[in-house]
């Protein structure tokens, strides 16, 4: 998942050449994808429609959707993802603003460090947090880490670089002449920020936020490692039902719900990145 932020660099407009079609060349990779990705997902949907006695129907769906456990997990997943996204956007925008517009020696190195952090596994943050905020950690914060807020803080920490990267790229494209004109006409820094910088960076920030929300919603490593007793998210529930209690039909129902949430966000993300690219091309 982390790769999304690294591959999400805007591609310039394509120049297309007309050539005869060789669609059949696509067959091998497409077959692999359909066989090992499409076929398993179809089976998940089918399995979710199969009751314990082997009948076809919606009984498992009704069971799961009505259970307090599922509702609680769905609500916690969405709330955590929203909270993490909000936190990351605020923090990431601030950090990127300082690096881009109030630079200091070494700022470039720091922004390269941010790129490296993007490739790290998320459980690293969870593990590090046990040393900082855990019950025996240096801050001696007690039970905080194993509450929803501990997970929220870990997700914000891990995903802030995912907002910083597109924000830095967008801020790099704001023309300094425009800012200087605004400033020379008497605009205070706050006004330059609100009326010159942020409007220009908005599409990138929105797609970064969308990406963060998608990743935070599907986050597994942090929640698993922190192992908070009363915090279960949808991916954790899928894991619990699938591996711990071996209740495949229920796990499949939750998995389908999770995929639907995630597809909706991903669709929005794709639309935002395309819109952002178009805007950039229009301005050029």
């Amino acid at each position: 998942m982390t790769g999304l932020a690294l591959t999400a660099v805007a591609a310039p407009a394509r120049r297309r050449e007309k050539r005869p079609g060789h669609g059949w060349l696509l067959l091998p990779p497409v077959l692999v994808l359909l066989g090992f990705f499409g076929y398993p997902l179809v089976l998940v949907v089918l399995q979710s429609l199969e009751s314990k006695t082997g009948e076809f129907g919606l009984s498992v769906w009704l069971d799961v959707l009505g259970s307090a456990e599922f509702r609680d997990a769905a609500w916690k997943t969405v709330a955590l993802a929203l909270g993490a996204t909000a936190g990351c956007v605020v923090l990431g925008t601030f950090l990127a603003l300082v690096i881009a517009f109030v630079p200091f020696p070494g700022a470039r190195t720091l922004s390269r460090l941010v790129d490296t952090v993007l490739a790290f596994p998320s459980f690293l943050i969870a593990l590090a947090f046990t040393f900082i905020y855990g019950s025996a950690g240096i801050l001696g914060a007690g039970g905080f880490l194993y509450s929803p807020f501990g997970i929220l803080l870990a997700e914000i920490t891990f995903y802030t670089p995912f907002v910083m990267r597109p924000a830095l790229a967008a801020f790099g494209q704001v023309s300094s002449a425009q800012m200087e004109v605004a400033a020379s006409l008497g605009a205070k820094p706050g006004r330059v920020l609100r009326q010159v910088i942020l409007p220009e960076a908005l599409p990138s920030l929105a797609s970064g936020a969308c990406l963060t929300m998608l990743l935070a919603m599907n986050e597994f490593g942090i929640v698993l490692f922190l192992g908070a007793k009363d915090v279960t998210t949808l991916p954790m529930l899928v894991y619990g039902k699938g591996i711990v209690t071996f209740d495949f039909p229920q796990a499949c129902v939750i998995a389908v719900v999770n995929v639907v949430f995630s597809l909706a966000l991903y669709g929005t993300y794709r639309r935002l990145t395309k819109g952002g690219q178009r805007a950039a091309v229009d301005q050029a």
Binding site: M1, G3, L4, L6, T7, P12, R15, E17, P20, G21, H22, G23, L25, L26, P29, V30, L33, F36, F37, P40, L41, L43, V44, F94, L95, V98, F101, V102, P103, F104, L110, V114, A119, P121, F123, L124, L127, T130, F131, I132, A136, I138, P161, M179, P189, V192, L193, N218, F220, G221, L234, P235, V238, Y239, G242, A255, V259, S262, G267, R270
Partner: protein
């Protein structure tokens, strides 16, 4: 420069330093410190030791490291091969087919890795393909997770590529295979290698699908690190994490060097 007075700038930098330290530097520093800590009750570790690394480099964790490296290398190779193939082939396909393939190859991004793991468990525990419980299911899971990223990196590079190069070669009489081998692939090599580094880093750190799929004899290092943390062996877990990062970084650097050479030619 957005701020003009020195005082406001210094104030802003101070806030920045605190936040950046908490978010980016502290977690890294903590893991590294913990990996060499003999005991840790105060602000700093009480004693430094290399014994965690010695233990991480022997027995079970070392076996896991080797599993992770094998999984990472094989899964990255396969996904880069398939992704490059799909990206190149879709370029010469009719436009409707190309769009469909593009969507199809991006879809796995939207599926959480845990769900992918579950789906593979459901699908491959039954005939005709019942290889659940073998290492192959882990490898396949990793390939499916990496594939969309390999595809998307290479296909973005193809979009940036100058079509005139291939056209010129073709107009001079080079066969399509020769154009592919002598013009297109060399031009794409840097991005193919970039997609390989990305795939390697992702595979080495993959946890969601692996936790669902791994058989006892093919446990990757992240899964072992979780088992260690679960048993409370956090120092050994930290040393293993540092080891995982170091090996990943080494792999990425090696691929980067290969990229630099390719660019020089």
């Amino acid at each position: 420069m957005l701020l003009w007075t020195r005082r406001s700038r210094v104030l802003l930098w101070a806030v920045f330093a605190v936040l950046f330290t908490a978010i980016v530097l502290a977690p890294l520093l903590m893991i590294v410190l913990a990996s060499v800590a003999g005991n840790w009750t105060g602000l700093l570790p009480g004693a430094l030791t290399g014994s965690h690394f010695a233990r991480a480099l022997s027995g079970e964790t070392f076996a896991s490291l080797s599993v992770s490296i094998q999984t990472g290398v094989i899964a990255s190779l396969v996904s880069v091969l398939l992704g490059t193939w799909a990206a190149l082939a879709s370029q010469s396909a009719p436009s409707k087919l190309r769009k469909a393939v593009d969507t199809l190859f991006h879809l796995p991004i939207a599926v959480p890795s845990v769900v992918l793991g579950l789906a593979m468990l459901v699908a491959f525990s039954r005939p005709p393909l019942a290889f659940n419980g073998t290492r192959w299911i882990v490898l396949l899971g990793h390939v499916m997770i990496l594939l969309p990223f390999s595809y998307s990196t290479v296909s973005a590079a193809i979009a940036r590529m100058d079509p005139l190069l291939a056209q010129a070669a073709a107009s001079l009489g080079a066969s399509p295979v020769r154009v592919l081998l002598r013009v297109r692939l060399p031009v794409l090599l840097p991005s193919i290698s970039a997609s390989a580094s990305l795939a390697l880093a992702m595979s080495m750190g993959e946890l969601g699908a692996t936790m669902m799929l791994y058989p006892p004899d093919w446990r990757t290092l992240p899964a072992s690190i979780f088992a260690l943390t679960d048993r409370g062996q956090v120092f050994l877990a930290s040393a293993s994490t540092v080891l995982l990062l170091a090996v990943t970084l080494a792999g990425v650097v090696i691929l980067g060097l290969a990229r630099g050479r390719a660019a020089q030619r």
